[in-house]
């Protein structure tokens, strides 16, 4: 990372840390889904930007993570957020392993459609297995303990805008550091060769299917953790979390920020959430406006917002 990027990152991090003190509570609360989606998108972009596979079914894993949180805090009476995050990650990995082995046999639209299909299967499961999932009403999420501390006495907004905010931020930072290492490892380089030219990668002895599988499972784990993080501020999980439009939203966020950049998806998540909030407060047809934005984006700025800053991919000197 060069000096300018490092400074930009430090400023952004300082800004996010300062939000609870300087911004109105409403905006502090909007940061919570941003951080949860941030984790999801870091994972999604390992698949999208680094491996060249566009999943239209990642809401499956967000839903899985969120329902894990609801299930554990409700039926299981397990309130520790650390345990919830670990179980959500494990559940996502377990489901992703077989799903990935089917999906990575295909590329492009076939891959996308297959991930969409698996997502819809899970959505229907959530909707129809009423006794287990609460059907279309979903399930409430009880307030989790943070680092073993029961903060039940605290007013809800204070809890969310205070301890939960910093907890989410810490999870995001850890997810970010881990992903940074991952994409700058020999493994990450092998993924990029697959994105650029799978046939050539195979002649170098890189097993395309194995690497795609690993990238898929890792991205699902990120989505599961992000989903679990998203559950608490949402308060009640329901099947729309796993619906295909939700998968579409996260692809949109990635495009908005720019999939060619490591930080692009985070920028995308941030802008998406604030833009959605703004547009929804002005007109009732926010999807109409977002559709237009998406169309304009693909036509005029395929590199996303980060692509506007860096006109071309610059050589990374570390």
């Amino acid at each position: 990372m060069n000096r300018a990027n490092a400074v930009a990152l430090a400023v952004a991090l300082a800004g996010v840390v300062a939000v609870p003190w300087v911004a109105p509570t409403y905006h502090v609360l909007l940061m919570l889904p941003f951080m949860a989606y941030g984790v999801v998108l870091l994972g999604l972009n390992l698949l999208f930007g680094y491996t060249g596979l566009v999943s239209f079914g990642h809401a499956l894993f967000i839903g899985l993570g969120a329902y894990t949180a609801a299930f554990l805090t409700g039926a299981c009476k397990i309130r520790s957020l650390e345990i919830i995050l670990v179980v959500a990650a494990a559940a996502a990995a377990l489901v992703a392993m077989p799903v990935a082995s089917f999906c990575v046999r295909y590329v492009k639209i076939y891959f996308g459609m297959l991930t969409l299909a698996f997502g819809m299967v899970f959505y229907t499961f959530l909707l129809k297995f009423y006794k287990l999932t609460g059907g279309d009403e979903g399930m409430p999420v009880a307030r989790p303990f943070l680092l073993g501390r029961d903060l039940g006495a605290m007013p809800k907004t204070e809890y969310l805008a205070g301890p939960y905010y910093f907890y989410s931020l810490a999870v995001l930072v850890v997810a970010l550091v881990v992903m940074w290492r991952l994409v700058h490892s020999p493994f990450g380089l092998c993924l990029k060769t697959i994105r650029d030219n799978p046939a050539k990668a195979e002649t170098l002895g890189i097993s395309v299917r194995h690497y795609r599988w690993a990238a898929f499972v890792i991205s699902a784990v990120y989505a599961g953790v992000g989903g679990a993080l998203l559950a608490t501020p949402t308060g009640n999980v329901d099947p729309t979390l796993a619906y295909w439009t939700h998968s579409g939203n996260i692809v949109f966020m990635t495009l908005l920020g720019g999939f060619a950049s490591f930080f692009g998806p985070l920028v995308g998540a941030f802008v998406f959430i604030y833009l959605q909030d703004f547009v929804m407060s002005v007109v009732p047809y926010w999807r109409l406006v977002f559709g237009a934005i998406l169309a304009a984006l693909v036509i005029f700025a395929p590199g996303g917002l980060m692509g506007l800053f860096a006109r071309r991919r610059t050589v990374e000197v570390i």
Binding site: L189, D196, N197, T203, G205, S207, V315
Partner: protein
């Protein structure tokens, strides 16, 4: 690359046939490649060169017959296992990773050779073996000065060199080059061949097989030439013997010489 020491057959094809429905692309091809040899496969379009290459590299399975590399049947084993066994190849149409730099391309090859791809949290920049290995191959192929350039921004000749260099970075025992000089200027052709032969010596490559149309290159660099015609071996001899036979040359080159 010249004969060195006593030669031993490391790649052998026995009575290879390949049928695509009614079409017989290869009809009983037998050949062997020994240590220290530079073998060229020539023949007009449709002679079965591409089919032969695909069988020799385990990309396709023969209808009948066997391909043995280091005494192991490699029929249809696929590129990944082939690379691990010690055979590398390059393609007729240049194959690069457009958005990777020269160095990254070579690092990927070195990392794959060393089995480092599984190290998901290891630092790429901190791995001296990968860094040095890639830099060494870059220098060997004269790509050192352009090591931070993106592959897609290289001139055509350098793209071709990078493609071949990444195959060399696997440190294979044998390499199969499908038209290593196609699509590049005449001046570049000689440069590429000179670099290639020198690099082969440096890394201790045991044999090179190439498919080539440019007869100057074929006669200038080969120890042995295998001429294919209509799916069969028409001649398998030293360049001087082939060159002496005018009729044969006309037939395989498909033009007057």
């Amino acid at each position: 690359m010249g004969r060195q020491g006593h030669s031993r057959v490391i790649l052998r094809a026995e009575n290879l046939t390949k049928h695509y429905g009614e079409f017989r692309a290869l009809r009983g091809v037998t050949l062997g490649v020994s240590t220290g040899e530079f073998v060229s496969i020539i023949g007009p379009n449709g002679a079965g060169k591409s089919t032969l290459i695909n069988l020799l590299t385990g990309l396709a399975r023969p209808t009948s017959g066997t391909v043995r590399f280091k005494d192991r049947d490699i029929g249809g084993i696929g590129p990944v296992k082939l690379a691990k066994l010690g055979m590398a190849r390059s393609f007729q149409l240049v194959q690069i990773f457009p958005d990777l730099t020269v160095l990254e391309t070579l690092q990927a090859a070195v990392a794959a050779r060393l089995g480092r791809g599984r190290r998901i949290f290891a630092s790429l920049t901190g791995d001296r073996e990968i860094q040095d290995g890639a830099l060494e191959v870059a220098e060997l192929f004269g790509l050192g000065v352009r090591r931070h350039a993106l592959a897609r921004e290289l001139p055509q000749g350098d793209k071709k060199l990078l493609d071949v260099a990444s195959a060399f970075a696997l440190r294979p025992e044998i390499i199969l080059l499908d038209e290593p000089t196609s699509g590049v200027s005449t001046a570049d052709k000689t440069r590429i061949m000179e670099i290639l032969v020198r690099a082969a010596k440096t890394i201790g490559l045991r044999a090179i097989i190439q498919v080539e149309h440019d007869m100057d290159i074929v006669f200038g660099y080969s120890d042995r030439i295998i001429a294919l015609h209509q799916g069969a071996v028409l001649a398998d001899a030293a360049p001087s013997d082939i060159q002496a036979d005018r009729r044969l040359v006309d037939m395989v080159v498909g033009r007057r010489h």
